[in-house]
């Protein structure tokens, strides 16, 4: 009797689920539209003339698509080289950081050595040094090293990545001990072991960490804007801000430049979205 009543309840519950799921679906659709709207406005504004940016009633879609905004950026404002700089910066810094992080992560996961615990605590503690707090001295050190207005000045500090070491250590810990031992018995040197056996087995770790680092570096703004001075050395984020003018800011060009900065990343992220989301969660929760 009691069981029958419960079953009836659950059935009733299922009927209610229909209404609930429609409501939920509608709410989520509205929320998604709201989050996508600024991007729509970005794309729409990038094709407007400057005179059409601030008008009432608002112009939702430009009557004529002003593709010349993009031409202007590439022809007169060096956005070709600037886009290339962003790619170079994000790719180089990601690839090198992945190598360094996996080396250190592997060392901390699979070797026993003197001072290991102390050194690992140091890596942990280094997470507490905010990059912002080192900008002033770093700037004067850079003057001596000739790293001002140099893309390597952005790359170098980001290669020492404690978060990445934690991240890769997780993946290295999962490698089976027998696999490493077998290679050693076969006469593999330690470096060969890393290159031939370890690296190929860390692919999913590389994908997760790599996409996180790439996105971060692509959008990096504060430090690059401090040290990258001349137009041909700027990255997209820095160049966008540099387009601003106290009298007459060309918002149509800024929007077009933003599209150039947003689209490649959007494509890359859509391809690697699984890895990015998994990596973000893992990085936040475990790191």
């Amino acid at each position: 009797m009691e069981k029958a009543m419960k079953l009836q309840h659950v059935k009733h519950h299922e009927g209610k689920r229909g209404i609930l799921s429609v409501t939920t679906f509608i709410i989520m659709t509205l929320v998604s539209l709201a989050t996508m709207f600024p991007l729509f406005w970005l794309f729409s504004s990038s094709l407007k003339d400057i005179s059409e940016i601030f008008v009432n009633p608002p112009m939702w879609v430009p009557k004529v698509f002003h593709w010349e905004n993009f031409t202007e950026l590439f022809v007169n404002r060096k956005f070709g080289i600037i886009t290339w700089n962003s790619f170079l910066l994000a790719t180089t810094s990601t690839v090198v950081a992945l190598v360094f992080c996996s080396l250190a992560g592997f060392a901390f996961a699979k070797y026993h050595f003197k001072g290991k615990n102390f050194l690992f605590i140091m890596v942990l503690a280094s997470l507490m040094i905010p990059h912002e707090a080192t900008m002033v001295p770093l700037f004067s050190i850079y003057k001596g090293m000739g790293l001002i207005d140099n893309i390597w000045g952005v790359i170098l500090p980001d290669l020492a990545n404690a978060f990445g070491i934690f991240f890769m250590r997780q993946y290295c810990s999962a490698l089976p001990e027998e696999m490493l031992e077998a290679a050693r018995i076969d006469g593999c040197t330690e470096f060969k072991l890393f290159r031939r056996i370890v690296l190929p087995n860390l692919k999913s770790g590389f994908a997760g960490l790599g996409i996180i680092l790439f996105v971060k570096q692509w959008n990096n703004f504060l430090w690059p804007s401090v040290i990258l001075r001349s137009q041909e050395n700027m990255t997209l984020s820095v160049a966008l801000k540099a387009l601003e003018d106290s009298n007459n800011t060309p918002y149509h060009l800024i929007m077009a430049g933003s599209v150039i900065s947003v689209v490649p990343l959007l494509i890359i992220v859509l391809i690697f979205q699984k890895q990015l989301i998994a990596g973000m969660i893992e990085g936040a929760v475990k790191g």
Binding site: K6, V10, R17, S21, F25, M28, V31, S32, T35, P38, L39, W41, S45, I53, F54, V55, N56, F100, C101, L103, A104, F106, F108, Y111, F113, L119, S126, L127, M128, I129, P130, E132, A133, T134, M135, V136, P137, L138, L156, P157, A160, I165, I185, T189, E190, F191, V215, W218, F221, L222, V226, S237, L240, K241, S258, S261, L266, V269, I281, A284
Partner: protein
Amino acid sequence: MTSRLNKQLKIAPYIYISPYFILFFVFSLYPILYSIYISFTDWNGSGEKTFIGFENYVQLFGDKNFWLSLWNSSIIFLMYVPLMLFLGLIFASMLNSNWMVGKGFFRMALFVPNFVSVVAVSFVFVLLLNTQNGLFNSVLRNIGLIDNPIPWLESPWWARISVSIMVLYRWLGYNMLLLMTGLQNISKDLYEAAYVDGATKIKSFFFITIPLVKKMLLFCTVLSTIGTFSLFTEPFILTQGGPLNSTLTPVLMLYTESFQNFNFGYASSIAVCFFILMMTISLIQMRVFDDKE
């Protein structure tokens, strides 16, 4: 195993961790120590450094703007964090139900603002929030909700609200993702049982969901605290810290003092205080989440 291999086994780990430690010493540890030294001097970045003891700190602690920057961050924190966590948890619960259609799409749609360039998004908000003919004011006026335009970026309180809206926009999806992982650990039977016992959806949300994701909520709060005190790009582009310094943040102040006013000594005292603040928050975080594993 031969002794040659044994020796390698001993040396290899040190070689593997050396790139990290060399870079860490040169680009992080040495600068932060140097920063502490500079904070005791008067220095414009190129000339001689004059040792002045604690003078920078005395000046800093008497500087209205420094306290204002901390106050602004706290207000911005209160404006968006509770709302963000509340909405994040509701959306996470919605996406977590197993009958939800299009989960992957919605998850991505909410997450997109987080990885799109902050500079680009900030400039879009500059357009949207323009007082005279920004889209927000135009629409609000045309549908008759307001008579006079809202000074989104031109009055102290509205400017703080605008910065908060943008931060909320950028971080809602990220926090929702974290809360979703928290929710996935809650057994579905619990909700079914609660339902059989006569609990409404809303009751289940407050008495099952919230207590069981408490830890994740706390974690998100700590991350948001660090994030809010480190805010730079949003106020820098939206309001340049104004009006009347109402959106000045510690990092923005550090940037202005160092790279615009060239008070490197004074700026370093801000940097040291910022470092201590961040370290304290991180230590609290470690304490709280120590028993996690």
